[in-house]
Amino acid sequence: MLKQIEGSHAMAEAIALCRPEVICAYPITPQTHIVEGVGELVKSGALQNCEFINVESEFAALSVAIGASAAGARVYTATASQGLLFMAEAVYNAAGLGLPIVMTLGNRAIGAPINIWNDHSDAMSMRDAGWIQLFAENNQEAVDLHIIAFRLAEELSMPAMVCVDGFILTHAFERVDIPDQAQVDSFLPPYDPVQVLDPENPASIGAMVGPEAFTEVRFLAHYKQRQALRLIPEFCEDFAKTFGRAAGGLLRPYRTDDAETIVVAMGSVVGTIKDVIDEMRDAGEKIGAVALVSYRPFPVEALRDILKHAKHVVVVEKCISVGVGGPLADNTDGALRNLRDRPKLHSAIAGLGGRPITRESLKKLFHDAVHAPWIGPFFLDLNERVVGREIHRGRKVRRAGSTAENILKQLALASHLPPG
């Protein structure tokens, strides 16, 4: 049913349709309206046979999820930003124990300094934890990916994270087709666990594993996640058959057929990028884009097949791995590694801590990648004046103080001065 609805509430409805049996969440910010929404559905009785557990922290949220999942329940939770960091140890445990928990991540920056706005720092901090990570381009896809995530997670017995841009998607009202229960039931079979803790047949999981077996355990985790590269396209095809619309996939090319420049990005910024590409195509430029849906597992072969004929690849991402550059650019570089005539790779860091990514800036970025290329990561719309002053200050004064506060002072001062 088509609805004009807030992203978070649309996701809450979709999650309820997946019939979770345990939902645990810490309701204090950073959080979205998603758990509030599912909480209401449990209380009203719309979501039956489900226990909503209000826990005391994010660490507890995922720990309870682990316990419930190990006992054979279909489990859901959600978090963002600092909340994900607080549950970090449990994030690794959920994957290590092979528990198919589905978690929404309403992507936000990580402090310090405190910043509640959107970027992908939180998702990137857990990219090596062993979870499947899927990124939504819009709220329709956010809804659809949750349904696919449950099936995928349970098929592989592996947790899955659906990454949805905080605020930009979670707080946006837009048109979403909410599926009906019969459709979801026909796509998502009841949960049939691979392992269950059962008092009738006592067993323990998560035991100590020494050097004699740890490598093999890790190999199998990697092997298992690579299976998702085959299952994701398969399930997405099945999804399209059941629901009558395409969703997800490993990645989605956009106007890449004869493209000499291809942009790689994840999440909601892909929408803006597509608009820019249409505009540049109208002006005769051979440019296209790839929306990466599956970040983990990383679809090396599929991405390489699309990028290998391009001359330039521009990676736009909302995260900086301090000291090296963009993690998505690094992974993309890895996919191109052994090509004979590989395209040039241009890395751009954009939208950090909620800075808007505009068509104007993107257009200039894509133009510059070809005509005035840069070296290393390029920070889109960086205020070079402010940065220059702060670097200068730090060189002159030992007790230069906190960078964040210094920059705010500079900006406040500049706003009271005449321009120029």
């Binding site: 088509l2 004009q4 807030e6 509640i116 706005w117 959107n118 819009n138 605020f167 930009i168 707080h171 946006a172 009202f173 837009e174 048109r175 909601s268 910024v269 892909v270 929408g271 803006t272 597509k274 608009d275 909620g354 808007p356 990514i357 505009t358 068509r359």
Partner: protein, 197 residues
Amino acid sequence: MFQSRIHGRGGQGVVTGAEMLSVAGFMEGRHAQAFPSFGSERTGAPVVAFCRIDDKEIRLREPIQDPDCVILQDPTLLRLSDVTSGLRPDGYLIVNTTKTFDDLHLRALVDKLPPGHAVIVPATELALKHVRRAAPNAALLGAFAALTGLVHFDSVLRAIHQAFPGKVGDANGAAAREAYDLVRTQENASHERAALA
């Protein structure tokens, strides 16, 4: 694509206003996208919300920098920021005030817009009269329907009732209707003046 930007303060229903406008567009079978300017939510703090309406899928996620319409819920914001920034030359301006454009030093800007594209509406007074709460958003949406004709007033009314079921919706609907009628009357008068001139 028609882009609207609503400026107001926390507690005035700025975000809800943009959401209701998007629902009105959706009810007419169009694509619509509403989102707030994100920040710490505090009563009285400046808030901006955005709404895009189009006949095709809206993919763009940047904040609206060149609006077709600016709705100003609180004219005291004129002293704090450039609320009409980027307003298109053929755009629309709706200001919630009991003062005049001259009083607010908006005359020069209004004169640059096509005749009949800017209106003042005592939306807070209408809200206090009908809703008994200083939430001018519904009334301003009534004015929006009358001024731009982008959405039918009936759709606005249905969107208001969807957001506020029952009596609160009726009261907000009444405020919206009075604002709608007020603007229609102003518009008719200005058209007559234009015809005479």
